[in-house]
């Protein structure tokens, strides 16, 4: 008996403070760490794609060397974007049923359409048009299984005449123009899922989709910086500093806008101080102190802003190696900070009682369907896929040169 009582005191009570409805005092929040990873991954996809469209649509030539890499990054992460959701289902083994019976009026089910559109109609198509010429070339020169892959990927079209290549480029250009709103849609949708929950003051907020998109762009560029530096390091190549500086510049401005919008959100909430503001304050001061103030604001925003901002001012005074390290560190910190931001959004909304007078907490499990082990595995998977994609589609020699068919041709045609 004594044992049981003390167990309970240890087990349930510290999880709850203040006035919490009995049915809210669950051991876990319903949306666990997997739901933190889901917006993180979709954000990386959308961000990496938007970074690639800087090359295609806005004609930023300095970024051409990372165009293909960022498109492949977007693809690798998009392929894993649904995994956290599917693993989170009560019956993950029946996940295909959800895709076979799409529902038009459920906001959750709309993700299926958004996802399918983005993967099939935008990303794969654009990649295919971009690589088609090379598929034809490689399928002729590569023997064995790998050659077979290229041959299948040509879809049997071997026409690489100037006329057809020009058509490819036009299509690519159209697709990346379609792709930008689609990328915004993909991630704006994720923000909408949270922002449309009116009863929850932490979530229900029209700025939510916008903050999600901006932080997605930031995290996507940071991921490209990270991948680019790691890739050149693995391949023992030198980093193209012009390209890296350009990425750092865009990263800085995107981060600046993101930080401003998020600050605006905080100021607005603070000024309006609507019902439930007191509990939000408790969250910021206590429950989310480390992940919000230190993780998201400190490590994820202020330090990178300072580092990247200093680089914008003093670019020519800082030696290349130092610059590279600083950009790499900012990228890594931003990646971490955006993950923390997703955590704060997803968990923050579940840490306080609907009475606004009590708070709960969450201790991550290690194993199991909702454990962080599975979450970490899902986070590793895109990198594994990306490695395969890079092996197949980014030949070493091409890496640092801009693509052979420069994008500016495309916008002229």
């Amino acid at each position: 008996m004594i044992n049981e009582v003390t167990n309970i005191v240890v087990e349930t009570l510290p999880q709850i403070q203040g006035y919490v409805y009995p049915n809210e005092s669950n051991v876990h929040p319903v949306w666990s760490v997997l739901i933190v990873i889901y917006p993180y991954i979709t954000g990386l996809v959308a961000g990496a794609f938007i970074m690639a469209s800087l090359v295609r649509v806005f004609n930023v030539k300095a970024l051409a060397p990372v165009y293909r890499m960022s498109m492949l990054t977007a693809l690798a992460f998009l392929l894993c974007a649904t995994l956290p959701l599917l693993c989170h289902l009560g019956h993950p083994e029946r996940n295909y049923e959800v895709m076979m019976t799409p529902h038009m009026t459920s906001p959750m089910a709309i993700f299926g359409f958004v996802y399918a559109w983005y993967l099939m109609a935008v990303l794969l198509l654009e990649l295919w048009f971009d690589f088609r010429q090379d598929f034809v070339k490689w399928s002729k020169t590569t023997p064995g299984f790998q050659g077979l892959i290229y041959r299948v990927l040509t879809l049997g079209v071997t026409d690489v005449s100037e006329q057809s290549v020009r058509l490819d480029m036009k299509m690519e250009w159209i697709l990346s123009i379609v792709g930008i709103p689609s990328a915004f849609l993909l991630h704006g949708y994720v923000g909408f899922i949270f922002g449309s929950i009116k009863a929850n003051p932490w979530w229900g907020n029209v700025l939510m989709p916008i903050m999600f998109i901006l932080s997605a762009i930031v995290s996507g560029i940071a991921l490209c910086v990270f991948n680019y530096i790691v890739l050149t390091w693995i391949r023992r190549k030198t980093v193209n500093m012009r390209c890296l500086d350009a990425m750092a510049m865009f990263l800085f401005y995107a981060l600046l806008v993101d930080a401003v919008i998020e600050t605006l959100d905080v100021l607005h909430r603070g000024f309006a101080a609507e019902e439930g503001f007191a509990v939000l304050q408790t969250m910021i001061r206590e429950k989310l102190f480390y992940t919000l103030n230190i993780g998201q604001v400190g490590i994820g925003t202020l330090v990178p802003l300072l580092m990247l901002g200093a680089l914008q001012l003093l670019r020519h005074r800082v030696p290349e190696a130092v610059r590279r390290t600083m950009i790499f560190c900012s990228g890594a910190m931003i990646l971490f900070g955006v993950l923390m931001m997703r955590w704060n959004v997803v968990m923050g909304g579940q840490f306080f009682s609907k009475s606004f007078r009590g708070v709960m907490s969450y201790k991550m499990e290690f194993s199991g369907q909702e454990g962080w082990l599975l979450g970490a595995a899902i986070m590793c998977l895109p990198f594994i896929i990306l490695t395969v994609l890079v092996k197949l589609f980014l030949s070493e020699s091409e890496q640092l040169q801009p693509c052979e068919h420069l994008p500016e041709n495309s916008s002229k045609t």
Partner: protein, 150 residues
């Protein structure tokens, strides 16, 4: 001859797209569970599946057969509204075979119900365990007759 000819790569893509959409519909005809949509946007058979599950709770009446004394005691005191299994855990197996003891044979987590919480109705007697007489509830309260002491 068509006046306008689709470029070969577009033609292939159209074919691939048609193949994908086609195979989706073929897959649908196999993979959508047969009873889907019978009553609504879900598997009709799920209802029967859930209904056919073995119950794990037995209910108060089934304990009467062997523990009628406790049932009487319980019915006369403050805990009369509680079910045995609310404190002892699922006991259907135990009722069928007394050698298998109930999940919590030695009683319950009293504080699950009695720890003070503002959200609880005020008619439910609540204590702050830290300030109460001691952690070992059954020393002073009979669980089946909570107003009496042993």
């Amino acid at each position: 001859m068509l006046p306008f000819k689709l470029p070969p790569q577009i033609l292939r893509l159209v074919l691939v797209a048609m193949a994908i959409v086609g195979s989706y519909f073929v897959a649908r005809s196999f993979l959508v569970p047969p009873s889907f949509g019978q009553y609504g946007w879900y598997r009709g058979a799920a209802l029967a599946e859930i209904a056919s599950r073995e119950p794990v709770f037995a209910g108060k009446q089934s304990c009467d057969e062997c523990h009628s004394d406790i049932l009487h005691k319980l019915a006369k005191d403050a805990h009369k509204t509680l079910s045995c299994e609310g404190c002892h855990g699922v006991s259907r197996e135990h009722g069928n075979n007394p050698d298998i003891l109930p999940v919590k044979s030695t009683g319950s987590h009293c504080i699950r119900c009695h720890e003070a919480n503002l959200a609880r109705p005020t008619w439910l007697k609540q204590i702050v365990v830290k300030d109460h007489y001691g952690p070992k509830c059954t020393e002073c309260h009979l669980p089946h007759q909570p107003t009496k002491s042993p």
